[in-house]
């Protein structure tokens, strides 16, 4: 049966005979949602610029093995510290390592930590915030008091202690930063859920017999995509900065593994020398990444708003 039906369908779609069905008056209305979101995003110029920069950075960093001009940690002690040249675009550090190559390899760690922390803390924070806001009552009380606790605990001190105890590997840094970071998005999601919960369309979902889980997943969370997208981008940015801070202070990523943070820390010793510019290289990398991530977040928020400009 399939055999006989298939050619007929194929024939009808490829026929050049004018189709009897009238042309659709509003083709824009027929576009699937994903397409509309994509188009809106592409119209947001800064977001596109941000995405291009981020992609370029990500490709350069994660492809550093092939792209970087010198292998990771190739030392040339005889060369020593060099000013930028055609052989070493950003110069070399005191150990004779090519600074551009180091920057790219270090970016792997910084970006990976940023993205992993953002995803992990967003998933946890969104789930907790949604439960707190939707369930209300004592569950809400308990969860919110816990997040209050996190607010008053000095993050850097906790980081230092936790990394001392667990050992400063990228995985533990991700876990500890996520453990500290989920409260921010949990608060945002909870407050949004509190306002959405009383909306009539949530009541309407109950009226058609939807379960609590379905209401949260199908009706509440989609209405939070914009908020969550923005928060993911903020979380990526703040995670990169926090990782850099811990590494800068010396209890984060440890040499010989490098991240933008411990590159900053090493370059800090060069202030006052002719190589002080090395401070700007990882600094700018962090700045540009964080800005680009924020632009993308901004674009995502606009793109997900169904009532946004068509």
């Amino acid at each position: 049966m399939n055999d006989s039906a298939a050619p007929r369908i194929a024939a009808s779609t490829t026929s050049t005979v004018p189709s009897p069905t009238p042309a659709k008056p509003a083709p824009a209305k027929d576009k699937p949602r994903r397409r509309i979101v994509l188009e809106r995003f592409l119209r947001h110029r800064l977001a596109v610029v941000g995405l291009v920069i981020l992609s370029a950075l990500a490709i350069a960093c994660f492809g550093a093995h092939w792209i970087a001009p010198y292998p990771h940690n190739r030392q040339d002690l005889l060369l020593g510290a060099q000013q930028p040249s055609s052989a070493h675009w950003l110069g070399t550090d005191a150990l004779g390592r090519d600074y551009l190559s180091e920057l790219l390899f270090a970016g792997q760690v910084s970006l990976a930590v940023g993205i992993c922390v953002a995803l992990l803390s967003t998933v946890v924070g969104t789930a907790v915030g949604a439960i707190a806001g939707f369930a209300g009552g004592w569950a809400d009380e308990v969860i919110m008091r816990v997040t209050d606790l996190f607010l008053i605990v000095p993050a850097i001190a906790v980081l230092a202690l936790a990394l001392q105890a667990l050992g400063p590997s990228p995985v533990t840094i991700v876990l500890v930063l996520s453990a500290l970071g989920w409260t921010m998005i949990a608060r945002v999601v909870r407050s949004q859920v509190l306002t959405l919960r009383n909306k009539e369309f949530i009541q309407a979902a109950r009226v058609i017999g939807a379960s609590n889980a379905r209401i949260v997943v199908r009706h509440l969370l989609p209405n939070l995509t914009g908020v969550i997208a923005v928060n993911v981008s903020l979380a990526v940015a703040s995670a990169i900065i926090l990782e850099s801070t811990t590494s800068f202070l010396g209890f984060g990523i440890q040499p010989p593994q490098s991240s933008w943070g411990n590159m900053l820390s090493q370059a800090a010793g060069l202030i006052g020398t002719s190589q002080a510019y090395l401070l700007y290289v990882p600094g700018l990398a962090i700045l540009i990444t964080v800005l680009a991530v924020n632009f993308v977040g901004d674009g995502l928020r606009d793109a997900f708003d169904p009532q946004g400009r068509q």
Binding site: A26, K29, E200, F201, Q203, A204, A205, I208, G209, N223
Partner: protein, 332 residues
């Protein structure tokens, strides 16, 4: 389509109380009524008369600070005793609600098709996505939405008010409910669109023999499609009767006042007659008949009787006015 005449919905002594910071507030007080199979019962009352609180109590969707007492018997089951989990298979399947503000009641992030489809699939997950889509298109077509195949994929904000209300109706009737509660379904609409939407409800009702509980403050709407009417004031039922009887022989002074306040095309009037005063605040309600402070016929010693039973004028027409016969004799 059984010839069963036992009521689909039987409400007895329903009392809804809200706990507020300034003490308990009674939104609905000892309300009793029945809805027969296939019947349309209109509930008329002004804002704050307890219409919506009664609906939400029936659906089991009162806010946390409200409690419902009494009995709500739906197809032989006591709804007030059911847990939220036990109510779920009933909501939307046998007991559906159409809300007043369709734009607020539709999820802005979902296409209308997806929402109608959800109303079906929540209770019956057996359909494949293609069959579900066909059923959705069929439902949209049934409620009079033109080119439903294009509309399925649109978002609520892309539709007009009337269209959105039709989508709400489509969601309401998706599972052929035994009772459809329409909570001010036409209030947010233009007059011409109102008529169309009411027409849709009537047509659907003819097809499916659904009972309809029509909540409104618009007597014109009631006159149009209801079989019987119940007049509510301050959470109480003041009068209940077939539509014609109510309009021609209103038995409660409040109903008389409401009808007198209607603009009439066949009578010239400089001013519309209004009922003097305001509905009393819950804390200031008199004992006995709540309409006393505004009633032209009030006799406090008689009207203050708390336990006065409703007065049956005939088999179908009852009034809560204890002075009905005296007032009637004065009129003649």
């Amino acid at each position: 389509m059984t010839s069963d005449t036992t009521p689909v919905l039987s409400v007895r002594d329903l009392t809804v109380t809200y706990r507020t910071d300034s003490g308990p507030v009674t939104a609905v007080e000892r309300l009793s009524f029945d809805v027969a199979p296939g019947e349309t019962l209109g509930i008329v009352g002004e804002s704050g008369s307890g219409k919506s609180a009664a609906t939400m109590a029936i659906m089991g969707l009162l806010p946390r600070n409200a409690t419902a007492e009494g009995s709500v018997l739906f197809r032989g089951r006591e709804l007030l005793d059911l847990s939220d989990r036990e109510m779920r298979p009933i909501r939307g399947k046998q007991l559906a609600v159409i809300f007043q503000d369709a734009l607020a009641a539709l999820n802005p992030m979902m296409t209308v098709g997806a929402q109608v489809a959800e109303a079906v699939s929540v209770h019956d997950a057996s359909r494949g996505s293609q069959a579900l889509r066909e059923r959705t298109v069929e439902l949209l077509d049934l409620v009079g939405i033109a080119s439903p195949r294009d509309r399925v994929d649109q978002y609520p904000h892309e539709l007009s008010g009337g269209m959105r209300q039709r989508v709400m109706i489509a969601m309401g009737i998706a599972n052929d409910p035994a009772l459809l509660i329409a909570d001010e379904p036409t209030t947010a609409l233009d007059v011409t669109v109102q008529a169309q939407v009411l027409d849709v409800i009537e047509r659907v009702q003819e097809r499916t023999h659904t009972s309809v509980l029509l909540i409104t403050h618009d007597l014109g709407v009631v006159a149009g499609i209801a079989d019987r009417v119940m007049v509510m004031y301050c959470g109480r039922k003041l009068e209940e009767s077939p539509v014609d009887s109510l309009f021609h022989h209103p038995a409660h002074p409040y109903t008389t006042g409401l009808l007198g306040a209607l603009p009439r095309i066949d009578r010239r009037a400089e001013r519309l007659v209004q009922i003097p005063g305001q509905p009393p605040l819950p804390s200031e309600r008199p004992t006995g008949c709540p309409f006393q402070p505004r009633c032209p016929h009030v006799v406090p010693s008689v009207c203050g009787d708390v336990d006065a039973p409703p007065l049956a004028i005939d088999a179908t027409h009852t009034t809560a006015c204890v002075r009905f016969h005296e007032i009637e004799s004065v009129k003649r």
